[in-house]
Structure formats: C-alpha cells, structure tokens
C-alpha cells in the first residue's frame, strides 16, 4: 500500500496512480486558482466551485425563486464558466465574471421555461411545494406569490429587479450583470418596480403589500 509524503505542498497536481492530495485552498487567491484551472489542474477547478457554488446558488435562487431545477442551472452556470475560463481577461475578477455567467444562464432558463410551459400537459414538478415548516407557511405563500408576479414580468425587468431588490447588488453591479449601461438599468428598475406593484395588486396574497408600497411612494 502506498503512503503519502509527510508534508504536502499547498497546491499539488493530482496523479491518479499515486492517489489524490487535496490541498488547503483557502489562502490561495482567485487569480491563482483561475490560472491553475486554465492550466488543467482539476483540483483548482474544484476549489473554485467549492468557493463560489453557494454564492452562485444564492444569486440563482434570487432570480429564479424556489424551483426544482436550481441544481441544474447551478451546474450549467459552472459548466459554462469553466468552458469559457480561458476567455476571462481579469482572473482577479472571477467572482464578478461568474455572476454574469450565472445571470445569463438563469435568463436562458427563464426563456426555456416559458417555451416549455405550453407543452406541459402534466408536470408534477410544477405542483405547489408542500409546506416545509408549518410556522413558515404564510411566508412560503408570500414567496410563491412574489415569484408568480415575477413570472408574469418581462425577463429584462425581472432580472435587474431581483438582483437589486433581493440580492442587493449595487446599481453598477446590476448593470454589469445584465450587460447594459447604468442609465438603462435605472430606467429598467423604475419600470420593473412599477410593474411589480401593479401586478401585486391583482394577487390576493400581495394586494395588501402593494397598497402599502404605493402609499410609501
């Protein structure tokens, strides 16, 4: 039986004939990991995933809401990112770049979902999610209502609104994530807020909130 050397370096290339060494990546910066990943170091790619998967899932969750396909979209986001990694010009801005990739993937998912809707004569995945916690059922109902309203909005308004309102990105970050200018994103956000309030008024769960939101304007 082979044994490991007593001390392992910080980053070690894997060698299947000698085993797999998992290094400590916490102290390694993004740019180094990106370069190692481009060089083909699988362990660096894994480390980038482990570092940012929870964040990307959160962004996707903000944009898409509760859905069964979140793992699929997360997978597709990273797959797309790793395929295009060699086109990343500023490796130290990996997180921002990854966010753009994730948002684009989420938008593709929204478009695809709309196209598929008419096909789904029977879709158990669209059934309402059962309540996970009875004490949180009202909150779950409100969340479902929020995303019902968002589903009815144009995608180019929904995505910036989610990123700004739920994800609390800066305006410049929202503009970067959706690939428009700062002025354009401001206009879209204004329209999105107005549309969200107007649509919420028609939803029984959100009607009261809509009235308060209008009163606060």
């Amino acid at each position: 039986m082979m044994t490991l050397p007593a001390a392992t370096p910080m980053i070690t290339r894997t060698n299947s004939s000698e085993g797999l060494v998992v290094p400590l990546f916490r102290t390694v910066d993004d740019a180094t990991l990106v370069r190692d990943a481009i060089d083909g170091q699988r362990s660096a790619t894994v480390a980038l995933y482990d570092r940012y998967a929870p964040y990307v899932r959160r962004v996707l969750g903000s944009v898409l809401g509760p859905c069964d396909d979140l793992a699929d979209v997360l997978h597709d986001s990273f797959e797309q990112a790793f395929r295009s990694l060699n086109r990343l010009e500023q490796p130290e801005r990996f997180k921002q770049w990854l966010r753009v990739v994730a948002v684009n993937t989420a938008r593709g998912h929204l478009r695809s979902k709309r196209r598929r809707q008419w096909l789904s004569f029977f879709a158990p995945e669209d059934m309402p999610e059962p309540e996970q916690h009875s004490e949180g059922s009202e909150a779950a109902d409100r969340v479902a209502a929020v995303y019902r309203v968002l589903d009815a909005m144009p995608e180019d308004e929904r995505v910036p609104l989610c990123l700004r309102w739920i994800e609390e990105l800066e305006l410049t970050e929202v503009a970067e994530a959706v690939g428009v200018s700062l002025a354009t994103v401001k206009r879209k956000l204004d329209r999105a807020r107005a549309r969200f309030v107007a649509l919420s008024r028609k939803d029984p769960t959100l009607a009261q909130f809509a009235a308060t939101m209008e009163g606060a304007r």
């Binding site: 039986m1 990546f25 998967a53 979140l70 598929r116 879709a123 009875s134 949180g136 909150a139 409100r142």
Partner: protein, 397 residues
Amino acid sequence: MNPLGTLKHDVEQVRDDPDRAARDVAAARARLFGTPAARRAPLRPRAWLAAAVILVVLLPVVALKALHFKTTPNVAVALRANEGVVRLPDGSTVNVSRARATILPESDHRIRVQIERGEAAFSVVHHDDTRWEVEAGPFTVVVVGTRFECAWDPDRREFWLRLAEGAVRVRGPAGLDQLMRAGEFVRAAVGEQRVQWDGPLRSATEPALGHDASADARSTGNDAATTADVITVPRPASSSAAWITMLRAGRTREALSRAQSDGFGRSISVGDPEALMLLADIARAQGQSEQARAAWAEVRARFGRSAQAGASRFLEGRLLADQLHQPDQARAMFERYLIEQPSGPFAESARARLLAEYTRLDERGATRTQQLARDYLRLHPEGPSAWRARAILGDSR
C-alpha cells in the same frame, strides 16, 4: 419593516434553506466532477467469458495496488476508485477493487461511501465522534466500527452484506430498518412491489413494512430470527385511504404523515395515479427519497400505460441523479423515459441530461450519444442544450 423588506426577508428565508442549498450544491458538484467511468463497450457472450477469466487472473494483482488520499475539513472531495485499497486518515480501509464506488468524506466526522456497482470490503476503525454510511442502491448501512463486505447489483436490484465483526444498521426501501450482528449474512432483492429480505430479522425500529405474523413474532425477541425470512408489502383489505382524503383537501404534509403512519407500502397500494404522483412529489420534497421512489414504482406497476407512469421515470431519474448520486441508474431511467414518451413533457430535459452525462463519461463518439445529439437538434433546435448537441456532432454553428 417596510413591505418590500418583509417580502425580501421571506424570499431569503426560503432561498437560503440550508438543506436545499446543500443538496443543490452537492448535486451540481457531483455532475461536474464525477470521474468518467471506464468506457464499456457492449460485450458478446464469449467476450463476457474472456473478461471473467481475465478478471479472476488479474484481481489479486490489482487488489495490491493502493489508492490513498487525505482530506481537509473545508474541502470535501469525492474520489471514485475502480480498483485498490483506500486508506483513510483514521486508519479505516475500504477495498473497492471489485466495485465502482465513490467515497465522500463530508467532514472530519462523517464519511459516506456510495457503491454504484459491485462489492466492497470495509474495515472501519471505531471513533466515538465519526459516523460512516455506506449506500448500496436503495440500502444504507450505518456503521460505527466494524468489518464487513457489502455489494449492490443495479441490474438485478440485489443487495448483500456479510458482517465479520461489530454491528450495523441497514436501512432500505419503504421504511426497512434492520440491525445486523457479527457473523450474519443477508441478501435482499428489490422488486417493484416488495423487498425480499433473506437474512436475520431484527427490527431497529417499529417495522414500517407489513410482514407475516410469524416473522413479527420472531422479531420481537432480542435475537434475530434464523434465516430466509421474507418481507413483503401486502395489499390492504380496504380500498380507501385517509391519506388520499387529506391530499384532496390540500393537507399535503398531513397526507404524507398519515401514509407513513399507516405503513407506507400498504398506503400506496391504493390511490389513483394522480394521488400517487402527488404523494411521491411531497415525499421527495420532504427528503423521503425512498418513499418517493416507492410511490413512483407503484404508479408504474399498477398504471403502466398512463402518462404518469412515463413521467415517474423522468422524475425518479432526476432524483437518482441529483439527490442520490446514482448516475448509472439515473441514466437508465432517462433512457427508458425517452423510449416510453419520446415527445413527453420532460423529453427535452431527459435528452439534455443524457447528453451531459454521456459527455461527462467521455462517450461523445458513441453511437447512442451521436443519435441523442441529432434527436436533440431536430426536436429542440432552440433548446438550452443545443450548443452541447452541436459540440458533440462537431458542428460549430
């Protein structure tokens, strides 16, 4: 709090549910970084014989070859080994020379091993604060400190376990939960409607499965019944069920609880396909994967020609892939779904998942992969995986 603030807080609560988040991240991770399995060309009968001879000759040599890895608490790593002995930092060893298995050291105190196919031998060093779980098909062996061999044959849906030392707890489909002690051997076959458990019966909890009265009487003692007992899921005498009434009233959580308390296997043997599909979906959402699978299997067994039976294959495939990390079985489900419902509502998703999986397995050139890619482009030219299909076919459009 302002109204938008309240709604934002609600969204965050639901979005950041730790169990769902961990499941999503783990599912995507497994699909991204699973090591490609050795490419397997279909073997002719004579080739099977030759392969068996070669295997017998080479096994002792291969078994001497060792793999070794070290884990850190912040970076859990999945290591799939087709051969050799894996030694863990705590001194435990797993011989996977005759299995395709994945070892997932989830933390310093929790190690999960998934046997996709074949048999593996374990020698687990007991530590008070460390928990081992070995997953073999729908069975989970909970280990404290022991020495045992365990196998799963996904084609025959057969599980076996031989315990040399210590004690383990075996959990399985439809609430099966049995204790095993040193020297015992069990073989379990999973059918569409029953689990046949040929081995000692010693219930770890109140059995959720119905079983015959004599087995019941034997299992109440401290020692196990002898051998060759059979646990089945019988049909109930009544044709109505309280869980269905609750379900129709929209009391979904109560419906699942009631189905469980009445004996899940017994409960699902009544109900129309819509009710069973909904119950499966509720079980899945509550993390009761095996109960979801049991309900889907029931739909297929009793309503084999229905649209729901076809849909159940896709949904079970997705659960196998994302939550149970059993890509081989998931693939089989997606393929079967496409045979049964090539234009069904999940056909695009099934093709997309198969294309991704065959790419991961490095089988882009295989006839089946090429066929799938052509079908995908023909049927879903604007689909989200069209780029992958084009890449597989070498079309740079």
